[in-house]
């Protein structure tokens, strides 16, 4: 057992927390947070596991560095999409809300706009 392995195991736990939140929480921004937590967990597993035996290893570190930058770009894109969705539909959740609007489709004209 080395500190690196401890961080790898913590990464596994983070993955679990993130997955749980991603499935259960309906608010989109919180879903995004959960998704980011999962990503951080994966990064920790990658680096921690690789450095468990061999000490500092630049190869997984470089991979994780690219991963972090891609993750922030994806997060920013997701925020753009979420804000756009909120702007058009006035909601911050996808799941039940979508079903509800389908039910009273006739009474509200709101539905036309998201369909664009």
């Amino acid at each position: 057992m080395t500190p690196s392995l401890l961080y790898a195991l913590a990464g596994a736990a983070l993955c679990g927390i993130g997955l749980f939140g991603f499935i259960l929480i309906s608010h989109l921004l919180r879903k995004l947070l959960a998704f980011n937590l999962m990503g951080s967990g994966v990064f920790l597993v990658l680096v921690g596991l690789a450095q468990h035996r061999s000490g500092p290893d630049p190869v997984p570190q470089a991979l994780v560095l690219t991963g972090i930058v891609v993750a922030i770009a994806a997060t920013a894109l997701a925020v753009v999409l979420i804000r756009r969705y909120y702007h058009l539909a006035g909601k911050t959740a996808l799941d039940d809300a979508a079903r509800e609007t389908l039910r009273d489709q006739g009474s509200r004209q709101v539905r036309e706009e998201p369909g664009e």
């Binding site: 927390i17 630049p58 920013a76 894109l77």
Partner: protein
Amino acid sequence: MSRILRSLSVASVCLVFVAGLAFVIWEISAVATPVDLPARLAENLERSSVENPVTAVLLNFRSYDTLLEIGVLVIAGIAGISVARTSSLEDPELRTSDELLYALQRWLIPLMLLLAGYLLWAGSDRPGGAFQAGAVLAASGVLMRLGGIPMDFLRPGLMLRLGLSLGFAVFLLVAVASALHGGEFLAYPPEMAKTLIVVIETVLTLSIAMVLLALFVSAPVNNAEEPEEGGS
């Protein structure tokens, strides 16, 4: 009731997932790795012509990954811009009118630009490099934007397109040129490696900052634009 049942089942699934993952990590950690990557990297570090091993991996040994990564970033930036409906960038509503921010800006922005330059330059022999510099540059751009400093290059147009695609284009150009020159794809000629790496890092910094900044700018959705899209 069904809600509690649902969260319980999801929790148990996640617990099983974590337990499986932890078990696998534990098992893998007991197995010796067949290839000693850090040692091989240390042997070949001189050939990469930079001293920081992470930069060597990013821009020389595994530069294909970095090329694809900047490609992904450019696509994300384009997607963000095309989804956004922003009105004029000087819209006073988007600004944060805060005295403290204005005062802080005068001190912070020059420092942050300096820091970005330093990080870029330091990347060759100590921690730092294009990604960190790009992030700091984007952060100072965000600060400028919040303070309402006009940034014309963020308007849709030639400058924006050029800034977004510069990093990817130069990187790809170097890759193709080295392939045509008789080497392999992305294998720099040894005598020019250092120059090429510095050039690529510089344009990468600019492009990364541009993508992140463009995504940040396109995030606010303006009320004023609504009628336009209803008609389309």
